[in-house]
Amino acid sequence: MHNTTGVKPSSGSMLTDPKARALLFQVLSVCTVVGIGWYLFHNTQTNLAQRGITSGFGFLNNTAGFGILQSLIEFSPTDTYGRVFFIGLLNTLLVSVLGIFFATVIGFIIGIARLSPNWLISRLAAVYIEIFRNIPPLLQIFFWYFAVLRAMPGPRDSFALSDVFFLNIRGLYVPEPTATPAFWAFALALLLALGGAWELARRARSLKITTGQEFPVFFSSLALLVILPGLSILVFGKPFTWTLPELRGFNFVGGMVIIPELFAITLALTIYTAAFIAETVRSGIQSVSHGQTEAARSLGLRPKHMLRLVIIPQAMRVIIPPLTSQYLNLVKNSSLAAAIGYPDLVSLFAGTVLNQTGQAIETIAITMSVYLAISLTISFLMNIYNKRIALIER
């Protein structure tokens, strides 16, 4: 604004020039922040050395020497702390992915049910939301783990479903598939069927746009998905053989086990987060003005099309940003798994490894960066999705 008159402000000193002043202050604050950061880092290093505490990241290559309850990749006690880190990370991601998937499905169902014109359904949904939203997640985890799953019988008195599935205090034992040579033919057939279904859907859409004709995409795709893999089984044989769990000695051996710790943490986080997602969905749907519904109806759209083509696309714009926050919360809450002994990143790496090596600063720094990275990735993906569904003004 100073220069509108064309006269330069009396530039006796730089301090009177707002641009130079702004620059000066920015440079000063950057220097201060960097200086403090360097001071903290340097001082920590010096003090660690002085107190004889080992520092650095060399410990990641040392042998761990302990066992882990659940690992998605091969692990033996002679592996390194670095591998323990990956196992913890994968276990955290497993809970997060399962939790996000189920919480989204349940959350959408409850959120829509909450708006149901049926009094009973909408009340039940409201009760669900109010109960699970208002109890701290740690207590819910304890409830499922200690009150529900601890009440299961021992391995010798397991609940059995036709001698294939077994449920006891040690977990749910299910048959484990092993791929046979015919597996590849099966996988190829499945892939072809999926590709075909996708192509069908594309053609049906363009058919509808050009001629307005409907094509039964769902049933034809389903037929494709059943017939092609079915043929591969008939021709090449079974794609899997199943190893059944069997009680031998102390425990069941063979098959796969879903440990109660994983079950408790996933269940608790799913139910807790679903309550928040339900409210988000409800608010999103209610944010679409009633005029839109009326306009859709006057165009002659059927109720299911009205919901799918008019209401939900507009509601999603409101739902996505808070939904992202719920996903982030779920990932961060998964660190509560440490309380029931589920081997997640916090319990395994920031707990056991920290204690066995004594390198608190390094392990905590790595763990914090990982959570930051996971959260930023989720935010990033959700932002891309948000952009795609945002209203495009024409």
Binding site: G52, L354, A360
Partner: protein, 342 residues
């Protein structure tokens, strides 16, 4: 919330390491004298070692060691405050200076002594790792445990020894780890695991906590050496010496026949030069340690000698009824031995 707590402590380490001035020898004693009490890290509930009785008082061998340090420093065994710590929290608590002494059935190992900035001052209790099993599974020896689910406290040497033992014997196991020893006991009782493994002394202590102790037995095998002792921060020799000699004074007192009952009288009447030196009647040995002349007298008078401490907490005078075994004095076939005061 244990995870959150560990993180907090770790943040505290970062903060102290970053902001405090370098630790000089002697700062711990000055700080302790200034605040007027010894801050002592103990276990979060282990009968015989550190637990709170029905009146809320801390009891146990590990607790008594800290009371001994307070008696030596202040002449008053009650000038001590306790911080209950889980196995996972304990080392960070010492490193960060949150506690002055860690007396929490902690095994002395080379990596802890040399790599973590800690110093072990001695051995309070010679222990070894064992197994506790339900009589229902009909196991008589640890060699029969192939395929078992084993409950362990996380972040302990126990966790590592267990792996070594099963590997060495070509057996498989499923580890179930919890932060607190209480949780491992509950899990054993509920049947989440077949076996609980820990130091033998702890197994006896945990067995009492079970609903029906008779349903559980401790297997005969001892699979490791577990010398348990007090820990201080590395780099403060003055404080290290005080904690180390507190324990030595108790062992020496037992050897010389001094008890909490007779120590005051002996200090006045004894002609034995060893007794006179220990109790401060002769020489200035307290001064070397930067303590009062009667430092050892106060320890024995207020806390007792090593034998008294042992019997009262874990021996025949307690519920645990553990025999002295390796913890007897050296001159009767045990391992407890203290250098002389002179």
């Amino acid at each position: 919330m244990k995870a959150a707590k560990t993180t907090l402590i770790a943040a505290a380490v970062a903060a102290t390491a970053g902001l405090s001035l370098p630790a000089h020898a002697g700062t711990t004693l000055d700080a302790v004298l200034k605040k007027g009490f010894v801050q002592c890290g103990v276990s979060d509930g282990l009968p015989g070692f550190s637990y709170t009785d029905e009146k809320g008082q801390y009891k146990g061998i590990d607790v008594d060691v800290c009371r001994g340090v307070a008696a030596a420093v202040f002449g008053d065994a009650s000038k001590v405050r306790f911080s209950p710590l889980t196995a996972k929290e304990r080392f960070t608590a010492v490193q960060s200076g949150e506690v002055d002494v860690l007396s929490r059935n902690t095994t002395w190992t080379s990596s802890r002594d040399a790599g973590m900035g800690l110093s072990f001052t001695g051995v309070t209790y010679y222990d070894g790792q064992g197994f506790l099993v339900s009589t229902k599974i009909g196991v008589k020896s640890a060699k029969e445990l192939d395929g078992a689910s084993v409950c362990i406290q996380s972040g302990t040497t126990t966790e590592l020894n267990l792996t070594d033992y099963f590997r060495a014997n070509g057996m498989k196991y499923t580890p179930i780890t919890y932060d607190k020893s209480d949780e491992t006991v509950k899990a054993l009782e509920a049947g989440r695991c077949d076996v609980l493994t820990s130091d033998q002394s702890q197994l006896y202590a945990q067995r009492i906590k079970l609903g029906n102790p008779a349903d559980f037995i401790v297997l005969p095998e001892v699979i490791s050496k577990e010398p348990l002792g007090p820990v201080v921060r590395q780099g403060d020799d003055e404080w290290f010496n005080i904690v180390r000699w507190t324990l030595f004074a108790m062992v020496n007192a037992e050897e010389l026949g001094l008890t909490s009952g007779n120590v005051e009288e002996q200090a006045k009447t004894s002609a034995n030069p060893d007794v006179r030196r220990l109790l401060g009647a002769e020489g200035e040995y307290g001064k070397d340690l930067k303590l009062q002349k009667d430092w050892a007298l106060q320890i024995v008078k207020q806390v007792g000698n090593y034998g008294e401490m042992f019997e009262r907490n874990v021996g025949m005078g307690s519920e645990l009824k553990i025999a002295r075994g390796q913890n007897a004095l050296w001159n009767v076939g045990g391992l407890q031995y203290a250098p002389p005061v002179r």
